[in-house]
């Protein structure tokens, strides 16, 4: 056909085309490798730094309870009164004295500030201790902890060596990480307070953003007339999804704290603020999922006499649900990792107790990570990495759930 083009010319073009394709493939592979490399680097640093945060160093502290003569009745340590008498019994002094007696004049500095809590808990578990001497495992001070994990100062290393000679130092799983909240002592901090704050915040976000987002999506797709107003609303929602999150924080500050007078630092306010941010994401995902339901299904339902509401709730919504849920979980995952808006509404306060109610002061995981990364004390470095690992794990679990739900609920036509 195209005999005007000589054969060798055609071959040359073919070679060029193949070379171009090869170059393009290589560039693509390189791009994938680079991003995979960054991801691996991130994971490797987090895991190598963070895993150390999951263990903690303990010191075997001999305590002579009998000699100390604490003002406690071994038979009455239960309940509210027991707690009160334990609180007033002076365990802090006892622990300091025991440390000095066991490890010399600097002994008290080897222990975490929270060491006395371990002593107190040991007594609560076993009141018979009060009548004798016992060896209690207490958390080491942050500096000792770091030195035992191999990165301490020379002085701390020396202390660790002398403790090790007496077999008084050992490494354990750091259960406190999952039961404690923030603390001034790096050895005693835990992520549970921040995690619980995040969970409460997410509950509020989901409870508000999901129903409102889904109803808005349903209304816009199924009921709203197509006119300039709905076009305007559509554009606004799309823009809202692209607004930087700190702006939502300012909005939350102005609206919920200043105007409505809700408590600062509360998961309630954090959840409401993040809901503002998540709603547009759910609306957009919801509309796309609803658009994806074939019109023939609506026709089929209408033709057997289903009312428009029945069409929506019996057919459209169930079929759109996998898409809506996927969008919701992705929006929630984004909200979970959000820091800036929470800083604006005061969820950056130092909170030493996990929140129990939606109005208790609380912080959230990403904010906690931000706060710890800002600490001067070196003991916080590994805790920061550990908290990041916990956050990444929760995010991974959420994304996994999204994939599972999509595969599970998806209808095959």
């Amino acid at each position: 056909m195209n005999s005007a083009v000589p054969a060798d010319e055609r071959r040359r073009r073919l070679r060029q085309r193949h070379a171009a394709e090869r170059r393009f493939r290589l560039a693509g592979a390189a791009a994938v490798l680079i991003s995979a490399g960054f991801l691996l680097f991130l994971l490797a640093t987090m895991v190598s730094g963070g895993l150390r945060g999951f263990t903690r160093t303990q010191i075997a502290l001999p305590v002579d309870f009998a000699a100390a003569g604490l003002p406690l009745d071994p038979g009455q340590l239960e309940g509210r009164e027991g707690a009160a008498s334990l609180a007033g019994a002076g365990f802090e002094g006892l622990t300091d004295h025991a440390a000095i007696a066991a490890f010399g004049p600097h002994g008290a500095r080897l222990l975490s500030d929270a060491a006395w809590i371990s002593v107190r808990n040991a007594v609560r578990r076993d009141p018979s201790l009060l009548a004798r001497r016992a060896v209690i495992q207490v958390p080491a001070a942050s500096g000792i902890d770091i030195a035992f994990k191999g990165r301490g100062t020379p002085e701390a290393e020396a202390e660790v060596a002398s403790l090790a000679r007496r077999s008084a130092i050992s490494s354990h799983f750091n259960a406190a990480l999952f039961s404690a909240a923030d603390s001034t002592d790096a050895a005693a901090v835990g992520v549970w307070g921040a995690l619980k704050g995040s969970l409460l915040t997410m509950a509020v976000t989901l409870g508000l953003a999901f129903p409102v987002g889904v109803l808005a999506a349903l209304y816009l797709e199924e009921y709203a007339p197509r006119n300039r107003w709905t076009d305007l609303i559509e554009v606004s929602i799309n823009n809202l999804a692209a607004v930087p999150s700190i702006i939502f924080g300012l909005l939350g500050l102005a609206l919920f704290l200043n105007t409505l007078g809700l408590p600062r630092s509360a998961p309630l306010v954090g959840g409401l603020t993040l809901a503002l941010m998540t709603m547009p994401v759910i609306v957009i995902a919801g509309r796309n999922a609803i658009k994806g339901v074939p019109p023939s299904i609506r026709d089929a339902a209408l033709a057997v006499g289903a009312s428009p509401v029945q069409v929506v709730f019996h057919h459209v919504l169930p079929l759109a649900l996998p898409g809506i849920l996927t969008g919701t979980i992705i929006g929630m995952a984004r909200a979970l990792g959000e820091t800036a808006p929470l800083l604006m509404i005061g969820m950056r306060a130092f909170v030493a107790a996990p929140p129990d109610r939606l109005t208790d002061p609380a912080t959230a995981l990403p904010v906690q990570i931000f706060l710890w990364s800002d600490e001067v004390n070196r003991g916080f470095v590994e805790k920061t990495s550990a908290a990041i690992l916990v956050l990444l794990f929760v995010l991974l679990a959420m994304n996994g759930l999204a994939v599972y739900l999509r595969n599970r609920l998806e209808t095959r036509w």
Binding site: P225, P294, S296, I297, A303, G305, A306, S307, Q310, T411
Partner: protein, 256 residues
């Protein structure tokens, strides 16, 4: 054939507009209770549009407007007192492409009966489903797998399932919009057979672009062209001795 020509639906001076575009021009036509009425005509002439006015499915299209008068058993279906949901329960519809719900076969058939409260107990509902599937000629094929998805059936079975779904609501009229256009010849023959069996129990109007099919299944044929009803009457007569030139051109294949 001397069946009583009792009219189930009477359309008088019906025009349909999509925005400014007029798709149906002043059509007057009756659908008989006991005779199958076929709508034929070239693609885009308004057959589907006219059919959809009969159960007000055009209401769902933004910008669609219907003028004129359509009476079902003498009641104006576009009157303000007419409930669309009830109308569609009385006038069922089967679509061009089989569109079963992505639910079980049982649920597909039971759905209409359930939302209209036609069955008070589980047993009554089972009976409705069995009767509808039997009338649609599908019972023997699916009775052992009622829990399977309706979308897993073959195309012809899906279309009969859709017919069963319409029947389960106990309608008076069944409208079919090219019900066989997506089916192979054998499945088509089964549906045509089914239409014969359903005739008399339900008033039936069927759109088809296939003239042989119109000749096989209908007793009355209406020929549409460019939104107008050119001619209608006894099927045999219309195909053998059409009154209008345009009808003759169409049935002799001059355009289509």
């Amino acid at each position: 054939m001397t069946l009583p020509n009792r009219s189930k639906i009477e359309a008088k001076g019906v025009s349909v507009f999509y925005g400014d575009n007029q798709a149906i021009r002043d059509v007057s036509l009756n659908i008989d209770q006991d005779r199958v009425t076929a709508f034929i005509g070239p693609s885009g002439c308004g057959k589907s549009t006219f059919l959809r006015t009969l159960n007000r499915m055009n209401d769902t299209i933004a910008g669609a407007r219907v003028e004129g008068e359509i009476r079902l058993d003498g009641d104006d279906i576009y009157a303000s007192g007419m409930d669309v949901v009830e109308l569609r329960a009385r006038v069922g519809m089967v679509f061009q492409k089989p569109n079963p719900f992505p639910k079980s076969i049982y649920e597909n058939v039971a759905y209409g009966a359930r939302i209209h409260g036609l069955a008070r107990s589980r047993e009554a509902l089972d009976a409705v489903v069995e009767q509808a599937l039997t009338r649609a000629g599908l019972w023997n094929e699916v009775k052992d797998r009622l829990k399977d998805s309706g979308t897993a059936l073959s195309g012809g079975q899906q279309q009969r399932l859709c017919i069963a779904r319409a029947i389960a609501v106990d309608p008076e009229v069944i409208l079919m919009d090219e019900p066989c256009s997506a089916l192979d010849p054998i499945a088509t023959a089964r549906i045509e057979e089914l239409i014969h069996e359903l005739r008399g129990r339900y008033a039936i109007a069927i759109v088809t672009h296939n003239m042989q099919q119109a000749a096989r299944v209908s007793q009355v044929t209406a020929f549409f062209h460019m939104g107008q009803l050119v001619e209608h009457g006894d099927t045999a007569q219309l195909f053998t001795s059409p009154r209008e030139e345009r009808t003759k051109d169409y049935i002799t294949g001059r355009y289509g």
